[in-house]
Amino acid sequence: MFRDIRPVLSALLRNRTGAVLVGLQVAIALAVLVNAVYIVKQRVDLIGRPTGLDVGNIFVLSSAGFTQDHDRYATMREDLAWLRSLPDVRAATSTNAIPLSGGGSSTGIATTPEASSEQTVPMNYFQVDEDGLEALGVTLAAGRNFRADEILPPDLNSDRAIPQVIITKALARSLFRTDDAVGKVVYDAFGRPTTVIGVIEHMQGSWLSWDKVDHVALVPEVASWSDNAYLVRTRPGTRAAVMRQAEEHLAASNTTRLIKFVRPLDYYRDRSYLSDRNMAVFLVTVTVLLAGVTALGIFALATFNVNVRTRQVGTRRAVGARRADIVRYFLVENWLVTTAGVVLGCALALAAGYQLSRQFELPRLDLYYLTGGVLALWLLGLAAAWQPARRAAKISPSMATRTI
């Protein structure tokens, strides 16, 4: 192939307007494609991060009383007792916040009672009962679960110490530089001690865009949220049915409250990632369209070149070119245009990647993506030029002797 390059390049340089335009198109396509795919990959990775939760089998039910004689804690006890009695429910707990939802509670804890604000580690906490671990579907890596007798009644003033806490490994590492946190003591913002009794392997908290999303603690306390909210974990394949059953029963069982919503946990995860997902879809669409337009540009240039060189191709065939030689000629010509665009596109892609990383604090462009983009555009270019090149190869050598 390379022995054909010099005369092809020589001819190309004498008719460069179309080639320059298509080369620029390839360059821009490469710069956009590489960075878009890289950003999409980051979004996909972000969305695909493990939550640590059994998201596919958990649902959230929220109810609120609307009469003066509504006893929310009595209702909560009744609701949880009924939910736990269902054969398809593995566990149910009250909670002050919904994981992955974008709403929740946070505070700071430290390893010393007089820690400065810089020494305080931020964390997201969930008030749960002894069913909390099972209802969330998280894995306990060390230590133990809460006992029923350790669950504290609601604390509406938030002014008491919490004796025990279960924390995630990520939080343990931030606090103690080790996963081995069981038995260690942490202190709240008021310097009150709390003993770590268990360590969860991994769990994402409420805010998926927070860089400390896995700094989570479970607190043994009846939730003191304004509404009653339950996290219910079902057996695989039964969630939808249990959700319907729970909504119907709980609505009918207590007429002093209304059911605000019954939603699968996926709903919150999907809602939290909505902008990431939309951006990924948008970028994929733009990338596909751009690749299509670029392919059309290459196809159009190759088709034009074939059409204006019908006599020339006939002459080449007459003086001995095989069909394969003609195909190769047009593919080499197209490859040169694409390569020129790709070289410029690499520089543009790196510059765009650098600017994106500076402006939006994105990681720097991975060169594997650049390499992949180059290969993709080479293949795209060859594929787009293939049909015109094949058509050129079908031009009869007798075209050389035609005078019209």
């Binding site: 005369p7 001819a11 008719n15 020339q312 007459a318 003086v319 001995g320 069909r323 009869s396 002797t401």
Partner: protein, 237 residues
């Protein structure tokens, strides 16, 4: 060198069948300079295309330098064209984007010759046509006559067994035409067989033998000298 026996070639459309060549037989010996003449539409170009392996034929037999053309694949026909035939076209058919050197180089590249040999052959061919000094000019920078000489250089650079010339002076003025014909005669004297297709009787007279094609058939098949002698005798009387 060239032996055609009972060749026929029919062009078909949905409505019309055109018999471009019918029962066409012609032999050309090595070293001959033959002119094929005939009026427009007589089948000259079809003969040229078939003789030059640019088109296939329907029936008959064709031996080119001892090779039976029937049944050859497209690639084999391309290789034969490249190795045995040099083409000279009425419109020169130079590639406008390539300089003279690269134009002459085109058939040699398709023969996969080493670069050094190609260079030597191109220099030699351009020397024969007197354009060595213009090797790096573009065709558009040359006159019509010079462009046709470049085309002749391209045709002879591969050292073909025979040249097929299609109205080689059709786009040239009389002075240029004479120069081109002189060049063709010179090449023929070096041993290359030439078949010249033309409608111009003046040009045909310079060939050793004249073949006239009418309605796809040879109507007259004699050496030109034999044709011209009675007329000359009559004129002198």
């Amino acid at each position: 060198m060239l032996a055609m026996r009972h060749i026929s070639k029919v062009f078909r459309t949905d409505l019309i069948e055109t018999h471009a060549l019918r029962d066409f037989s012609l032999g050309v010996d090595a070293g001959e300079f033959v002119a094929v003449t005939g009026p427009s539409g007589s089948g000259k170009t079809t003969f040229l295309n078939v003789a030059g392996l640019l088109e296939t034929f329907d029936t008959g037999a064709y031996l080119l330098d001892g090779v039976d053309i029937s049944g050859l694949s497209d690639d084999e026909r391309s290789r034969l064209r490249n190795e045995k035939i040099g083409f000279i076209f009425q419109s020169f058919n130079l590639i406008p984007d390539l300089d003279i050197f690269d134009n002459v180089d085109v058939p040699l590249r398709y023969r996969r010759m080493p670069a050094a040999e190609r260079r030597q052959r191109i220099d030699s061919a351009l020397d024969i046509v007197g354009l060595k000094s213009r090797a790096h000019h573009l065709p558009s920078q040359l006159s019509g006559g010079q462009q046709q000489r470049v085309a002749i250089a391209r045709a002879i650079a591969g050292d073909p067994k025979f040249l097929l010339a299609d109205e080689p002076t059709g786009n040239l003025d009389s002075l240029m035409a004479r120069q081109v014909m002189d060049l063709l005669e010179q090449i023929n004297e070096m041993g290359t067989t030439i078949v010249l297709v033309t409608h111009d009787p003046e040009l045909a007279r310079r060939a050793q033998r004249n073949v006239q094609v009418v309605d796809g058939q040879i109507s007259d098949y004699r050496p030109f000298a034999a044709q011209a002698a009675p007329a000359m005798a009559g004129a002198l009387a």
